[in-house]
Subunit: 286 residues, 2 copies
Amino acid sequence: MKIAVFGYGNIGRAAEQAVKKAKDMELVGVFHHDEMVTLLAEKPDVVLLCTPTREVPVCAPLFLKAGICTVDSFDIHNDICKLRAQLSPVAEQYKAVSVISAGWDPGSDSVIRVMMHALVPEGQLFTNFGPGRSMGHSVAAKAIPGVKDALSMTLPAGEGRHNRHVYIELEEGYEFEKVKEAILHDDYFAHDYTEVERVDSVAKLDTHQHGVHIERNGMSGITPNQQVDFTMRINNPALTGQMMVSCARAAVRMHDRQQFGSFTTVELAPIDLLPGEREDLIAHLV
Amino acid sequence: MKIAVFGYGNIGRAAEQAVKKAKDMELVGVFHHDEMVTLLAEKPDVVLLCTPTREVPVCAPLFLKAGICTVDSFDIHNDICKLRAQLSPVAEQYKAVSVISAGWDPGSDSVIRVMMHALVPEGQLFTNFGPGRSMGHSVAAKAIPGVKDALSMTLPAGEGRHNRHVYIELEEGYEFEKVKEAILHDDYFAHDYTEVERVDSVAKLDTHQHGVHIERNGMSGITPNQQVDFTMRINNPALTGQMMVSCARAAVRMHDRQQFGSFTTVELAPIDLLPGEREDLIAHLV
C-alpha cells in the first residue's frame, strides 16, 4: 500500500519513520502544504494528515474527493462527531475511507474505554493523563503576552483530575507575577490547580514522554469489584504516528471491502490494524 | 434482542445475570441439553453457548443451521482457527453470525494484544495469568486416581511463565506422596514448577477471583521503550458471562448488516459491543 505523509512536524516525522518500518507499505513521500498537486499525482492509497488538528476538516475532503483515503489524529474531543458527520458523506460519495481521531487519545485509548465498558457495563471510569506535556496548554500559555516560551505539564491528580505545572521563559520587560496571574486566569488553566514556574530554558525541560492510566471498577452482570486497568508510558509523537500508520492499514482493508465512509478507531476491527494474514494473526494473538 | 442461555454452569449463571441487566435484551430462557427443541421454538436472536468448551463445535452448528446466532467462550487456543473455519461456512450458508472464543482469554485479552501490536509493532509481549484458578488444570488434577477434589492455582512467575499450586483432597486408601508424584508427572503439570498441597477442604479455598497482566515493551516506529500494560483483577465467570453478552450484541448488529460468518473478538468493531446509538457512544467514549 502506498502511503503519503502530509505535514512535517513531530507527528509527521514519527509517521514517516513508522511507514518506513512497515514491510507492507511504501512511502511515496512527505509533503508540505504547497505540494498538494505533487502529492495527488503520486496517487497514494492513504494520506496521513499530520497537520495541526484544526486544519483536518479543511484538508481531509481535498484528498477524499480524489478517492484517496485519509487518516488523521484530530484531537478536539467535543468536535469528533461533527468531523465524522462532515467527512462521512464525502468519503462515501468518492468511494474512500477516512479514519479520524486515530492517535492515542482520542484513538487507541478510545478502544480501551469501549472494551472496559463491554467488560464492566456499570461503574466508574477515569482517564488519568501524564505526567506529560500538554500540547494545547503549552500553546495557550505561549500565547500570553510576556511569555517567550512555555511548557505545560499535565500531572494526574486522581479520579481523572489533573494539575498543571507551567514552565515559562519570560520576555524582557515583563514582570513574572503579572504574567503568572494572566496564565492562572486564562480559561485553559482557570479550572485546574496550576503552578507557574519561571525557568531559563524551556527547551531543556521539554520531553516527548507522556503517559496515561485508564481505570475502571464496577459490575459485570451483578458481580461488583471488577477491576480493569490500562497504563502506558510512551513517547507521544512516536505513538501517535504509529497508531496513524496502523489505521492506514485498516483504511486500505475497509476500502478493499468497499466499506466507505468516515470511522473512528472504535468502529474498526482491531485485526485490520495489523500486517499479515487474518488467519495467522488469529492463530498467534487470539 | 432475544437471548437464550444454553448450559447452566458457572458461566451460564453469570451470562443469565448479565442478560437480565442489559436493557436492550430480553432473556427468553435458560436451557439444558435436553431442551433443544423448546429453545429453538423460542426463536432467540442469539444463543449463548455456556456448555463445556469441547461441546461448542458440536452444539454451535445446530443453532446456526436454524439461522440463530451463537456466542461461545471456546478456550482451546490452538483450535480457534479450526473452529472458525468449521463454523464460518455454516453461518454464511444459513445467514447467521457466530462469535467464537468470546470470554476474556481468548476474548477481550485478544483485543488488548492486537491493540498493543498496533501501537508497538516490535517488541516483547507477555500475558501473565493469575493468581487464580485454572479450570483446565483443576480438572486434570481431579482426574488423577486418589484425588477426591482439586484446585489448581495459576501463579504468575514473570515474562509469561507460570507456577502452579495444586490443592488436593485425598481419597481414602491412597498415599499422598504417590498421588503427588502422579500429578507432577501429568503432562498438564510436567512443564511448569508445581507444588502439591494436601488440604481438608478444597471447596473452602475455592474462589472465582482471577487476573491477568498483559505487558508489552518495544518500538513504535524507531522509538524504543514504549511501555503498555493491561491489568485485571476480576471474578472469572462474571467477566466471561458479561463478555459473551456484549458479544451477543455485536452478533445481532453484524446480522442486521448482513455480515454473516464466524468471527473472533478481534474481528468485531468494539463499538458494536455496547448498547445505545453509535453517535452517542462516540461522543461519550472516543
